[in-house]
Symmetry: none
Subunit: 117 residues, 2 copies
């Protein structure tokens, strides 16, 4: 949104410059995943494939909420769902490639927590 003057083309633009550039981009991401439960579920799935009730326990979300959040995330392409219809039905959730690409975000957050929490 903010246009900034051209500059040296080193690998590393100035901080201010870079910040001005990405502010808008980030808002789009926030609109998609910037809700408490979506973040928590995505973060939780970094540990690997999990089933519904497993996620329910580890995240603390109610089944109603979890169901909707998983639906939203799947629809938006952040996670994938594999179902087993046999004997005890099971539903496994994993991060999609798109969702997995968010890991650095959570890692940054984790690093921040180490220093400031």
């Amino acid at each position: 949104m903010v246009t900034k003057p051209p500059s040296e083309e080193t690998d590393e633009p100035t901080e201010v410059e870079r910040r001005n550039a990405d502010v808008c981009n980030v808002v789009g991401s926030i609109e998609m995943i910037g809700s408490k439960w979506k973040l928590i579920v995505l973060n939780d799935l970094r540990e690997g494939e999990k089933r519904f009730n497993e996620l329910k326990r580890s995240t603390g979300a109610s089944s109603y909420t979890l169901s909707r959040v998983l639906g939203d995330l799947e629809e938006a392409g952040f996670i994938e769902n594999r179902k087993e219809f046999e004997a005890p039905v099971a539903s496994y959730y994993t991060l999609s490639e798109r969702g997995d690409a968010l890991c650095p975000v959570f890692e940054s957050l984790d690093a921040w927590g180490d220093d400031w929490l």
Copy 2:
């Protein structure tokens, strides 16, 4: 200083927080800043110092919402507030050291947006 009636964030850890505290502190961070407006305001302040109405315009938040979000963020130590009482009163907001340390998170988010948005 004190967050008023509507949304009050207690310091009491939730069940979820307690359960996952030692596993990963991401959840704690999410509890603190994982709401749409907090993320948007923090992200916006990466551009540098801004005043109230400036933030109001750039984020699109109402003054009511913005006022509360800024109060919460300041109370939690993510931002700092400098006031000028002269002629036209002015109130400037900037990221604190603690808040600035979150920049890598937004940079990761931006990088993700470049690839997947």
